[in-house]
């Protein structure tokens, strides 16, 4: 099989982030309480809700629970389109404090600027000087709290050697901390940590013992060599490694026609430009 040709063909049909979303949404279970952040992390729970998980409850940290976005995908958790039909409007202490910290949130989707070998995340800044960052990103928002208390989380992010890194420029949100069982033993954090990092190239999952990220799967348009080259630390291959199947027609139809209609999130409209 000619992987270069293969890649070329698939990337005419799907964007890498459509791969990431269609891998990520499968971690969502029907009936689960799912927390969504901003940007790409908004998509998987909504895709799950519109397919196999109609009874999922989507929680936004601002306090909106059970809403279905009206008209367009929200620009943020504070967008009016998710203020319309929520079953309940409460506040940040009730979402991040009560629901998340008591373990009532089963799954959270997070974005990140950087992720280290133990799934710890940086969403704050690039550079080595906090007082004058090379680039300021957004900040923790509720990310730290969700990483601490959510039963599990899944990260969606870009895969570059300066993003999947050995050492974070800023430690915003905990994954498996120092690895192994340190998240619980040493740091006493309540939640279970990251299930997977879904990038635009591959799916990384923690080794069950060391909790170091390994390559669990790659997308068919890339190669293990490319993934390793784009990872900022020497990364192992997980047991059961596989190549991800392309998104199904139904997944793509819902993603493009009902969710990311404008293409702002996955960039799919550029495929046809």
């Amino acid at each position: 099989m000619d992987s270069a040709a293969n890649r070329k063909e698939l990337l005419k049909l799907y964007t890498p982030m459509e791969f990431a979303c269609t891998v990520a949404y499968k971690y969502c279970k029907d009936g689960a309480n799912v927390f969504c952040g901003v940007g790409l992390s908004l998509l998987p729970a909504q895709l799950a809700q519109k397919t196999f998980a109609p009874d999922v409850s989507i929680i936004y940290e601002g306090g909106s629970i059970g809403s279905v976005a009206v008209g367009r995908i929200p620009w943020g958790i504070d967008d009016t389109v998710i203020q319309v039909n929520a079953e309940c409007q409460t506040d940040v202490l009730s979402t991040l404090g009560w629901l998340v910290q008591t373990g009532r949130v089963h799954l959270t989707y997070l974005g990140a600027a950087q992720c280290d070998r133990y799934g710890n995340l940086n969403t704050t800044l690039y550079g080595d000087d906090y007082t004058r960052p090379a680039a300021r990103v957004s900040g923790s928002g509720g990310g730290h709290d969700l990483a601490v208390g959510s039963q599990n989380f899944v990260v969606i992010m870009n895969h570059r050697e300066d993003r999947i890194v050995d050492k974070l420029d800023y430690q915003t949100s905990p994954g498996f901390c120092d690895g192994g069982t340190s998240r619980w033993d040493k740091w006493g954090l309540s939640g279970g940590g990251p299930l997977a990092i879904c990038t635009d190239l591959a799916v990384l999952t923690p080794n069950p013992v060391s909790r170091e990220l390994e390559i669990a799967a790659i997308y068919p348009f890339t190669t293990l060599e490319e993934v390793k080259a784009r990872t900022g630390f020497p990364i192992r291959i997980a047991a059961g490694f596989k190549v991800v199947e392309p998104p199904t027609a139904e997944e793509i139809k819902i993603l493009r026609e009902q969710l990311d209609v404008t293409g702002d999130f996955t960039g799919w409209k550029k495929l046809f430009a």
Partner: protein
């Protein structure tokens, strides 16, 4: 109870002092206290107040907070993120942090739970509060980073009751002033919020003084009919500023949606001459509420009001006081 209505300019002159801490409610797209922030800048120019160094507490630095940074009157920020959500990061905040333009600002990063908890502690007059967040990572490191720390950051401690659990003790924040934009308030200061509350339940209560900005003033009879909708009890509120469209270009669910077009335009005009022109036009050029509304444009106002979330306010229209009655009630 007392009539707490106050004109916008008088409220800024009365409550805003240099070197004070202000906590501002809402979220980057929602109910930010934008008109009050603009009036701080306007009064600063007119000499109604003289403000150089504010200590600014806000969940997410978006439109209003960025304007204060742009005009160089923010000394320090405690916040959890800085962006206009999907519209983009705050160019102005980035320029200040990365390049010191127009001045270097001190910044302290929190998470939404730690910052909201710190404000709740302030509202309850507790000196500190424990939290499960803020134990691991850099959020617990000193934040106000000019070399002279104003106070130590999170103290990680063990449960004195023997569970073995570790928590971070977070210092309370009791801002000198809390400002919160609400769609509805009555003359007694009872504030009603429709849609997500964000931090506002406790952020409002945390202020040593509390000022609400309300799109509409409602008859107290509405509070009596829906007392459980009053999120901010008037008995603790110091003043209510009536200002329809005061959160614009943010949303005020039930009354109007966010003006994404304007926010995107603002981001594109966040530097140099373009920024100057923007501020001249949208902050300084107008003289009164009518001119403010004209600047937004009647068509735009109508379009923003015609928003699916208006269903949240439908039952309440009968209690909205007409403009002339509100004007008569303003001292």
């Amino acid at each position: 109870m007392k009539n707490k209505l106050m004109r916008l300019d008088v409220a800024v002159q009365t409550f805003v002092k240099d070197r004070m801490s202000i906590a501002a409610g809402g979220f980057p797209l929602a109910r930010q206290s934008n008109i009050f922030i603009k009036e701080i800048l306007r009064q600063n120019k007119k000499g109604g107040v003289k403000v150089r160094d504010l200590y600014w507490v806000e969940p997410g630095i978006g439109f209003g907070g960025s304007m204060l940074v742009a005009e160089g009157i923010i000394d320090s920020v405690i916040s959890t993120f800085s962006s206009h959500e999907r519209a983009g990061l705050s160019v102005i905040t980035r320029d200040a942090l990365e390049k010191g333009i127009p001045r270097k600002i001190k910044w302290e990063d929190e998470s939404n739970l730690t910052l909201n908890s710190r404000l709740m502690a302030g509202a309850l007059n507790l000196p500190f509060i424990p939290c499960g967040s803020g134990i691991w990572g850099d959020l617990k490191k000193p934040g106000l980073w000019d070399g002279k720390m104003a106070y130590p950051k999170n103290v990680v401690t063990e449960d004195p009751f023997g569970s073995g659990r570790k928590v971070a003790l977070l210092q309370a924040i009791s801002p000198d002033l809390s400002i919160v934009h609400v769609p509805f308030a009555d003359t007694h200061g009872n504030g009603i919020i429709l849609g997500s509350m964000y931090y506002d339940y406790w952020l409002a209560r945390a202020g040593k003084k509390i000022v609400l900005i309300a799109d509409q003033i409602i008859d107290t009879e509405m509070c009596r009919r829906y007392p459980n909708l009053v999120a901010i009890p008037g008995v603790g509120v110091d003043a209510v500023v009536p200002w329809f469209m005061g959160a614009w270009p943010c949303n005020s669910p039930g009354v109007y949606g966010e003006d994404l077009e304007h926010i995107s335009m603002f981001i594109k005009n966040s530097r140099g001459e373009a920024l100057r022109s923007y501020l001249d036009k949208y902050v300084y050029s107008w003289e009164n509420h009518q001119q403010y509304l004209e600047l937004i444009g009647a068509e735009k106002v109508a379009a923003l009001q015609d928003n699916p979330a208006k269903v949240l306010a439908e039952p309440f229209g009968q209690w909205i006081l007409p403009q002339d009655k509100v004007a008569a009630l303003l001292p």
